[in-house]
């Protein structure tokens, strides 16, 4: 098993603009979009700041010199307004599908395995269906701060909160979802890599927020069932 540090450090050069190692089906969509926006804004950034510096040097004040007297002209206004508008709308259009796929109400694959999650100050309690693979049956069991899933198979977590708002965040999977008390919120994802990762709370939920952490273990498909039937249950939380 890869340890969490390795999993993230693989790309974890501080001061890099690259995203850390990703291992879920969302990584493709989100990272691609991120790098697109990074390129666009990066170019805009360099262009604007460079021009600014050039202007500052070229048109620095010199005695006896008068500035060029103008109130502006419309053509440039039209150009830069138009260009910006087109670019941002374009960004919006290419973003929409990915958004629908990840968060859309009907985005959840029908064959996704269902898990339960109850977030509380300051623990994650995951409910597993047990060997029979069905939630709400006698062999369900609950683990503290441990999320176990099988690789390459979609999982949908129905999350609720006992007290305040928490946020389910697995950086490697590029997934984040607030968990709001009084609501049953469905989060789905599909890990693509066996290993161990970290899950954190991303919404200030009290003074224990900073260590409301869970370990995510992605099993190979075949030993997931074995785990579900055996070692997993032995750890089960007292109900």
């Amino acid at each position: 098993m890869i340890n969490p540090v390795a999993a993230l450090q693989s790309t974890n050069i501080p001061l890099s603009w690259l995203l850390p190692h990703g291992s879920s089906t969302f990584v493709g969509d989100i990272d691609w979009l991120y790098y697109l926006v990074l390129w666009i804004t990066g170019i805009a950034f360099i262009a604007v700041e460079a021009t600014l510096v050039v202007f500052l040097v070229k048109y620095r004040g010199r005695p006896g010199r008068k500035a060029y007297y103008t109130h502006g002209s419309l053509m440039p206004e039209y150009i830069w307004t138009g260009v910006t508008a087109v670019v941002v709308v374009m960004i919006g259009l290419v973003s929409a599908p990915a958004w629908g796929k990840i968060k859309g109400r009907d985005g959840v694959p029908p064959n996704a395995m269902a898990l339960g999650l109850t977030a509380k100050q300051f623990e994650w309690h995951f409910t597993y269906p047990g060997p029979d693979g069905k939630l709400g049956t006698a062999d369900d069991f609950e683990l503290r701060n441990q999320l176990h899933v099988a690789v390459d198979s979609p999982v949908v977590v129905t999350a609720q909160s006992e007290d305040v708002i928490h946020s389910f965040f697995v950086p490697n999977w590029r997934i984040k979802q607030d968990i709001v008390p009084g609501m049953h919120i469905r989060v789905w994802f599909q890990p693509t890599e066996v290993g161990t990762f970290e899950l954190g709370c991303a919404e200030l939920c009290g003074f224990g927020h900073y260590r409301m952490r869970a370990i995510v273990t992605v099993h190979a498909k075949d030993d997931y069932q074995r785990w579900m039937a055996g070692s997993g249950r032995s750890l089960a939380l007292a109900r």
Partner: protein, 205 residues
């Protein structure tokens, strides 16, 4: 945009025009209108939340008249509307410089306003005795917050009104300058309007 830009770049050099007649109204009146804008947003926040919560949990509201006493409040509403009428009368007499009627109409408005608050206080007392308190649930929470803050606005209005009335009795308002009366009138009509909305959505629906 084209015309705008040209107009302005020309306008920059245009020879002086006369002062643009601001809003065409004196400061106090304009100020009150602007202030009422912010009041509208305040009540929008309260009423909006009420609607959102109620739509989400209709079962938490008792049917109209079950908990709240509609007849008494209806009378109270009628009173408040009357006070708007007396306010209009007061303003009219101020415009015609009729001192006596001005004072009397203002006084009437004060008294009716005070009565409204009194009746509301009585209603609260009664409801709380019946066990209908803010902590009872969403129904109580929204009811007391909305009507309470309206009541607070009415009380403030009554205080301002009595000040204006006092000035009226000392003959401070002329047919040419009676800003105090008009401005407090604006506020009063606004408070009245808000109540009509509240009465409808809180008591009748």
């Amino acid at each position: 945009m084209t015309h705008g830009a040209i107009a302005a770049s020309a306008g920059v050099m245009r020879p002086p025009v006369d002062r643009e007649a601001g809003a065409g109204v004196y400061n106090e009146k304009l100020g009150m209108w602007v202030f009422l804008g912010s009041e509208v947003m305040f009540f929008t926040a309260l009423i909006g939340s009420y609607i959102i919560l109620r739509v989400a949990h209709p079962e938490m509201w008792a049917p109209p008249g079950k908990v709240l006493n509609v007849p008494i409040t209806a009378v109270n509403t009628f009173l408040l509307i009357c006070s708007s009428v007396t306010m209009v009368k007061a303003f009219a007499s101020a415009q015609d410089g009729l001192q006596r009627p001005l004072c009397l109409w203002l006084l009437a408005t004060c008294i009716i306003g005070a009565t409204f608050v009194g009746v509301q206080a009585f209603e609260y007392h009664h409801l709380i005795e019946k066990g209908f308190v803010p902590s009872e649930g969403l129904y109580g929470s929204t009811f007391y917050t909305m009507t309470g803050f309206h009541g607070f606005h009415v009380s403030v209005g009554v205080i301002c009104l009595s000040f204006v009335t006092w000035k009226a009795f000392r003959g401070k308002y002329t047919s040419t300058d009676h800003r105090g009366v008009e401005v407090v009138g604006l506020y009063w009509h606004f408070v009245d309007l808000v109540w009509i909305i509240l009465f409808t959505i809180v008591y009748l629906i």
